[in-house]
Subunit: 320 residues, 4 copies
């Protein structure tokens, strides 16, 4: 029985251009021997649900999607959707192989996913190539599959100017959300939002990634929330809710407290290992295992994490 | 009962460090609607067998491997091995996904492949990263799977110095062949061969790709043959045989006659479409179809090919 | 008093959108100790003049521009313009440093250059970034400096779609020529020429580079000539003249004879060393020296060149 | 008369393998019309001296080195050395042009620089290429020019493994310092320090860049200090001094307070404009002007900076 402002906007399994809040980018849990850890899938869903996130995104870079066999990916998708019922699950389907992308998207939607997410491959160069690729994927998926366009140049080297994003949104009616992770990207949000507010561009949701390294200002620029994998999703929820409710100072105070750890998690390559370690310590997953090839955490890195968590715990008891 | 010099080196389905001759890089035939064209698989095998090639390599870049679903890839592999019996078939297994690589390699070897081929991914940078990756793959494949190390910087951006190749060969006993397609790469062949001849590096076979754009001098530098997809494999066979028999001038005369077309086929992106067009005209496959996304041949490009074939036909009646 | 068809189109020192023919990309001659070889500058100009080229381009990649001090670059420019009088000299001014670009362009024009050439830097990504950069340079140069836009993705990684080139031509009135070296690039020429012939895009000259590896078909697609550094510029002159006079078969026969050597020269990295070696043997420059850091030609490479020249000499006595 | 531990290690104009502390990466001040602002050079030196930094580094990426003419670069170098007397000044000399690098280094040392800094160019790939380049530069500079090896893959794409850095240090006796800015890079510091402490690698100083985004843990891993351009160099001095004196908690408290702004400054592309804006507000330079081409700060970005400074001022009155 919703009574508060937030609860009035109860989560549904839909993904639309009005979606907002926090979508957790979820890792893929493995057993110590590298097999898929199906038991942890349920634990993890409950962890994220208790943290108050509005949705989940699986099979992103953080989900080690490119280390899974097709049937493992599908098992994960089905497990998450079953457990996380009532909230939207987005499935990352990026692939250099368009047929594989199409198959996974079809399977995911059949399993109850709210939508899919992809990023154009790093081999594309010109504006027309990028727009053409997005249109091809959109047509391949069909009009009934809502999709998230991921703009992630630090991972792909592919740069989409605001006008390219606008063209994609105009040409692909099923594009309902932008996952923004350009860096720097704040003025990009401002530009797109200005076009949308002026009626020059169809509205889309904008959720931000990039490890939340600029979530505070992304919200200030008009983003609708976060879609990222920080190991304290509660913080993301707090920050986004406070921002949306007009409590900027409260949001920033919480954010700043977490920034030292958040920044540490956002390192390329080793960041995912740090996150799985923290998530395992927090009980979100049973094991911190990454599938090979993967970096090992050095003793010094483990000591760094201990230190960061100890300091965080002074302000946020969830880090204790 | 072999009687001629060539027949004395009768083809077998083995892949060893002494393998030589011509391995055709085979396209994957599709029907006009984009479905796998299984009938053409047999036609194509017969075409290459009649051309006198010593082996075939499937699922390379030219084979549009990254547009196939896993079961399609396996169907192709089985079809080729069944029809091309008695001669070695190498299966390209390169993938950013190590599990997918391992599975395809296992299936290919179970189906009777002579070996597999892979290239380290473009994301690697340092010498140690490249050697480490090759060792990981080698250990994953196991000691009984002979493999070809593909050195293809123009496609991947990954540069392997001669010393890196040497380290990989030393650390991976099942590496039996180098597919050389560095550009420039002639001195690289010379360096590796010198080490091998001096006993400082274990011998491997060296077959050359890069569209045969330097096959003449690659043979002069000590390569054992060609592994590439030029649409007149008979020419490759003639050149390699003549070189190995000491008839350099004859080899060069044949080569030079084909160089205008060969160079035209070796264009990035559009080259594969040109090759499939020529192969379809020659009856090697039923349709020139590429799977989307793929470039279409412009009327001007088709006219270029007509012109090149007409000129070639003056010297080589197979182009008629 | 011009009497033949070619002479009627007498060379001038102007660079316009109607310029055609062959511009030699000239090397920078060095003494064995690495100092600028000013005596060879005159030899080289005479060599190119005797070869019948219509113009010269200095300080390109082949000119080792990025190994020269500013005053050395200016000395070379002045020396070439003084000796090559009556024919246009284009000066490459590409630089990541816009101030340095501006200074060199000013000095070159003051010295009598016909125009300058630049390519946008490899760090640019989106269409707007590339067009914006060209516009900035054009405005910096001012309306009285005709410029050549160099489209050279194999060297820079920067891809300009035809529409980007069209936008640059529209926004920069002083852009009079495209140096085309995309690969593949034949359909790009066809597209641009079609726009220009239909009056949808302002006319520019199109001269082709890329080592002349596709000069035959580039002429067939409507290019106006060549701007490249092959060590037998006489061949380029013959091919372009025959094409422009409608003698396609004669042009192709000459071209094909040179293709084996031309292809050898067009190798990345080592190609320039090969060219300087051949030019020195032909007496165009006194020494084959490259400035450090530079690759040395191996004994095997020297033998390759000997072999190619000996074969070429059977058909073209200039290679003797 | 130094009495405390820190003062006992009084700054000198030398650069050695024992150098430690904070070197400010200095911007190049410009007048609003883009001309070099020589008056601000003195202001800036005084600002950094008062902030307590141990040295300065000019002509880095932050110094817009690639927008200066050679004589402007030299003017800046001389101005800084004259004003900042008694403390070491390092001059960035990275260039794709080895002759230009050599000239600038010679001029800088003649002007009294303590040493020079360079990073290998992004075109290099293999371990041997990188080590060979560093050796060539080292030999070109000669044994009397101490140099800093800059390891900055996020800017260059060039990845140096620890073993490559070790080889460079072994082969180049005049390499006295590593400017560390790999990301992630903490374990790299640990590896190199372990080798040095074990006597397996010659000692070098290690100062860290990367906008100080990991300075806290870099110190914990054994770095000797910072070499970066954060607009509150006092904070860098406080953090490094506290770390070196064993007051980790104090160091971390100060660091965390600045992290929100520090992170904002560390954005690619726009970060330098943010820094110059803050430095101008603080009176370190007269104008925030960047030379074209450069990004403009949007009104929203200016508001972000206001907000960050206002929050910082609650804890650090220098931000008031």
């Amino acid at each position: 029985m919703p009574t508060s402002k937030e609860n009035a906007q109860a989560p549904t399994a839909e993904l639309t251009s009005r979606t907002h809040g926090v979508f957790a980018i979820a890792p893929t849990p493995f057993l110590p021997d590298g097999a898929l850890d199906e038991a942890s899938v349920s634990m993890m869903c409950d962890f994220y649900a208790e943290a108050g996130v509005d949705g989940m995104t699986v099979l992103g870079i953080m989900g080690e999607a490119n280390k899974l066999l097709p049937e493992e990916a599908l098992t994960l998708v089905r497990g998450v959707i079953a457990r996380f019922s009532g909230r939207p699950v987005v499935v990352g389907v990026s692939s250099p192989n368009l047929r594989a992308l199409e198959r996974l998207a079809g399977e995911a939607m059949a399993a109850g996913a709210a939508g899919v997410m992809f990023t154009p491959p790093s081999t594309l160069r010109t504006d027309d190539q990028i727009v053409g690729y997005a249109r091809t994927v959109s047509e391949t998926l069909g009009p009934d599959v809502p999709f998230v366009l991921q703009d992630h140049p630090t991972a792909t080297g592919l740069v989409m100017s605001p006008i390219v994003i606008r063209r994609i949104v105009e040409e692909c009616p099923s594009c309902v959300m932008l996952k923004h992770e350009d860096w720097p990207g704040l003025d990009k949000i401002t530009t797109i939002r200005a076009w949308q507010n002026a009626g020059e561009m169809r509205r889309t949701a904008i959720l931000c990634g990039n490890g939340a390294l600029f979530l505070d200002f992304e919200m200030a620029r008009g983003a609708d929330g976060a879609m990222t994998g920080y190991a304290f999703p509660e913080m993301l929820v707090d920050v986004v809710r406070n921002y949306r409710n007009g409590n900027r100072e409260a949001a920033q105070d919480i954010y700043d407290t977490h920034l030292p750890l958040l920044r540490y998690e956002q390192q390329p390559v080793v960041g995912l290992a740090v996150r799985k370690h923290v998530l395992a310590r927090r009980g979100a997953i049973a094991h911190e295992t990454l599938r090979a090839p993967a970096p090992a955490l050095s003793p010094e890195t483990l000591a760094d994490i201990d230190y960061l968590l100890a300091r965080l715990a002074r302000h946020d008891m969830r880090a204790g």
